[in-house]
Symmetry: D2
């Protein structure tokens, strides 16, 4: 299970209460065999954070957010967490007159740099995973997409220990292809965690059951994660419909896992399907003659490339059988192959 | 004026035609006093690029795109350009079954790395500015936002010579706050160029006259560019309504510039407005006591911060007068202050 | 003030409590001079309505919703309301497998028909105003736009007493032009009430301060309402930012009204502006020769129209100076005319 | 095949050319056995219509649009069409200052009323089907959704001969549930035609292969059409990806039909599935006691309903097993039931 500080320890718990809860929680973990792979701080529910936490315009709020996070990191490590997620639900603005977007990023960086030093100084074995979201509950959040978050990470002091926690619903809110965002994070070595759910484009944060909105995009995501060998959590950050009772919540949780597993089998089937694979081979055909020149710059390669003659019309007229490939995928998804 | 290769030299021009056009174009530049600050390659109109250029699944197309760009770089430099823009209008996909998103980024990187080496090898004084777009004409483009592009740049061999060319309309297509994207680029030292226009969220690429859709977001953008001292082009990449004749196109062009200049004056007025500035001073009040601790990590600062006592309820109840600040901004925009 | 049943009388009040509250509320109205022009039922907060009210799949819930509304109508009329608003915040679905969309509309119609008969039978002087919303908190609401609601009203037994209550934010959630929706309602004689606020396209329900997101679209709305002589309430259904304290909420309320009144003056200025009016006269020029034929069908008019010769190329080449007209409007809005 | 006037007869054909083409086309129909169930006018490609056709601010353009439509109706009827589709691709605006939205609707109404009289006067057996779209190529179209179009139809002189032609992609552009829009049209007796394709929310008009974006929403649409017994055309108004050659276009066309037929079989399977049907029976359980009271107003029913006692908490706590129902549907779609 994931450790959210105030889900376990109320924000107004006394030190005694806190210690008691920690003891009981550790006992419960031991008895049930449950583990805590991930921990996080709630920096969005309390009205103190109404104008942001690490990027608040108020220096006391920023300091309080930092203190709260250090304490929650201590606890998370104590419970065994190896990933610490940051979701800055209030790190944004409705009124652009109130701040300079660049300064807000500086504040955010200062906080993350401070906390990475804290982790290193304490010898904790902990990585950070930053989660982006475009808006809601704030009008605009400062780092709205996984791409923006990856760019931000590249500017941090200890970027090697910081990756992303992309969430399907958040990327879909901006109408973006989630698998592409995950691919960029993966390719940069930054896919430290992932939040799976479902969501229609251009809507409030829906957090639907995995696969319940768009089966095809869910399939390509599963296919990608399985193909590249992603070994982190498949973390379902979703909610049952408000119509459900307790049994319904269990139906919901089972449904998330069930759909993932069905799609995983279909990804395997995709790789076994001879017609699909033949089509892919045709699409990716490469005799290596040109890639040996274009793969790496050298004056000779550049000169050689400049001398090449291309039949533009033939390239324009070539067959690229994507409709057929896509229909075969649809057939496979619908179980009629 | 900006140099788009095939706008000046038809894609099927003979070498003789090409040389003649180049000579005449250079003469025209000299006679009119016009300059070419920016150049770019058209890698999207010709059917050869129907499945992408640098990321096409076809190695001949990728090689042709590279050759075409080297040639256009040569010309751009000859005409005096110091910025080379890449807009990968077809670097995307409709059919995710056809590719692995991570491999597509590898191909894109290979091409940009090749071209930076080419520029360096030839001793050209040229920087690259990459332009993101979420979709259209392809279903999904690989690097859909300015944030994703900044993250990609951080992975390139010569990232120091590569920045972004954010376009207002493209960011708005994904419902994102454009000024925040520009602020991130600026703060990372990567705002090499900018494309100004206007656009409603969640629509086809509209390229409207600057300021014609949302005056307030245009104002915050101008305010940001002027405040931070951005010195690059204010490049209007927009189109007149299809209803316009030649006079109307001139009205449109004048309107872009006029609105920018009016908003620039209003940004100055914002800085002179005593009530607005007093409110901002109140919002950003900082006695420095805590920022001296939180600004930089040290074991002492961490320990000191942990000992701090915060009145959470007071922080939650504090006044943050954004409605008033925003209304003053609206009054200023409407010319009633 | 508007009467929302459970805002005044808790849903679990005893009959005695209810009577006491009603007496005190009526006294307060008399003493303050406040009136209740509009009343409505809360059919969305209580978990009983988790699957809808009038369109719930559960007949007991439907019956309870009907009873609750009859009671609230009685009270609304007692307090002097002449408009009764229906906002079916839960009349929708996440799971299309659970219902047939056509049957859901039949249930909705049955309820509204029942309630209009109830009003007529009791001799109440009350009109209904139905409010559309595309989604949130449900995945999809059944009548998602003002247009859909107008179409639904045309199928009701007593459609003459039923109009719409368009809400700016709700129409913008679907990326639609709100003024056009209001124009359609007005033109059909169905603009019984209006909810003013502001909202970005493709977002959660933001309910922002009127004019705070898009000044230009707010201007055209005010201009329309003032031009056509709309005499109903200008009802601000918005919320202050969560950052505000009590003073901030008052700033917010004042801001809504202030911006409306500024824009109303600008609408008047638009009508006085000689250059704008000359341009509009040019755009709408009509010598009446063709409109006398096309205005009304007759065999003679049809024959005459068929004989007309049109210079298609000239029509295509004609000047339609919208860029200029729009820039003049922008200048006027920015206070520089 | 559908008859689009200028697809068969160039807009600048001479009367002789026209007559020749008509003769040849009729011969070709006879020889191939193809029929023309639907006809329509192109009122959007020619620059004459750059500011609209029936709603243009120019009376000559409006008259020309009317004349062109009368001529195309004559031809459509000659070729055997029984449905005439109106898609007003340019009936909108970018500049709201140029018109009053209500007046534009009056012009549109005038044109449609004229044309219905023309059809009646000529004794043609022809119905009209109006098609809505929210935007593109214009900034905002006047009747943006199927709902708005249905509302407009209710205000026409001969509304009995006028229905709608909903298009999936157009409704999805506004992020609306297409099946719900179709259900409203069907329930009003106005589903005269339908345009099937696919589309992501909040994007340019994609016109994708049916079922290629969202299999689940496509399934519910097919299920609805088959359940209610819709007997009109299943008209695929879609385009192959631009990557395709001639074989690819055929793959695309086959794919549209194939996916429809697979989903039709799955709809049948849904009706045969005992577990799904048992769940639906549970969800819709109704002993009739309350529906006999709420179904139709009478003073007795109202009084009886007021006396009913409802256990609000029990209604709130009741089981509504939508997660389970939805997962069973997902299983069925994926072919694992």
């Amino acid at each position: 299970m994931n450790f959210h500080d105030n889900d376990v320890i109320p924000i107004d718990a006394t030190p005694n209460d806190r210690d008691k809860i920690v003891r009981e929680f550790k006992t419960a973990l031991k008895e049930t065999g449950l583990t805590v792979p991930m921990a996080t701080t709630n920096l969005f529910s309390d009205p103190a954070f109404k104008d942001g936490a690490f990027t608040s315009n108020n220096p006391r709020v920023r300091a309080y957010a930092l203190q709260k996070t250090m304490n929650a990191i201590d606890l998370g490590v104590e419970f065994g967490a190896s990933i610490y997620v940051f979701w800055g639900g209030r790190e944004g603005t409705e009124v652009d007159a109130s701040q300079n977007g660049a300064d807000s990023l500086k504040r955010f960086r200062e906080a993350i740099n401070f906390l990475t030093e804290y982790v290193l100084d304490n010898g904790y074995d902990l990585k950070f995973a930053l989660e982006a979201k475009p808006n809601e509950p704030r009008g605009d959040l400062f780092l709205p997409t996984t791409g923006a978050m990856l760019a931000f990470i590249a500017t941090l002091d200890h970027s090697e220990m910081i990756g992303v926690n992309p969430e399907l619903a958040h990327e879909h809110m901006a109408g973006l292809n989630f698998t592409h965002a995950v691919a960029q994070a993966w390719e940069a070595g930054k896919l430290f965690h992932i939040d799976l759910n479902d969501q229609a484009f251009g809507r409030y944060d829906q957090d639907l059951r995995f696969g319940s909105y768009n089966l095809k995009s869910a399939f390509f995501l599963v296919k990608f994660l399985e193909e590249v060998g992603y070994e982190g959590s498949r973390h379902f950050d979703a909610h049952a419909y408000r119509t459900e009772d307790y049994e319904g919540v269990k139906d919901f949780a089972r449904g998330c896992m069930r759909t993932y597993l069905i799609l995983k089998e279909k990804a395997e089937q995709f790789h076994q399907d001879k017609e699909i694979q033949a089509l892919l081979a045709e699409i990716h055909a490469d005799d290596g003659k040109l890639t040996s020149i274009t793969g790496k710059y050298s004056p000779q390669n550049a000169a050689s490339l400049k001398r090449q003659s291309f039949d533009r019309a033939a390239l324009g007229a070539r067959s690229v059988p994507y409709e057929r490939l896509d229909q075969l995928t649809v057939d496979l998804l619908l179980g009629v192959r």
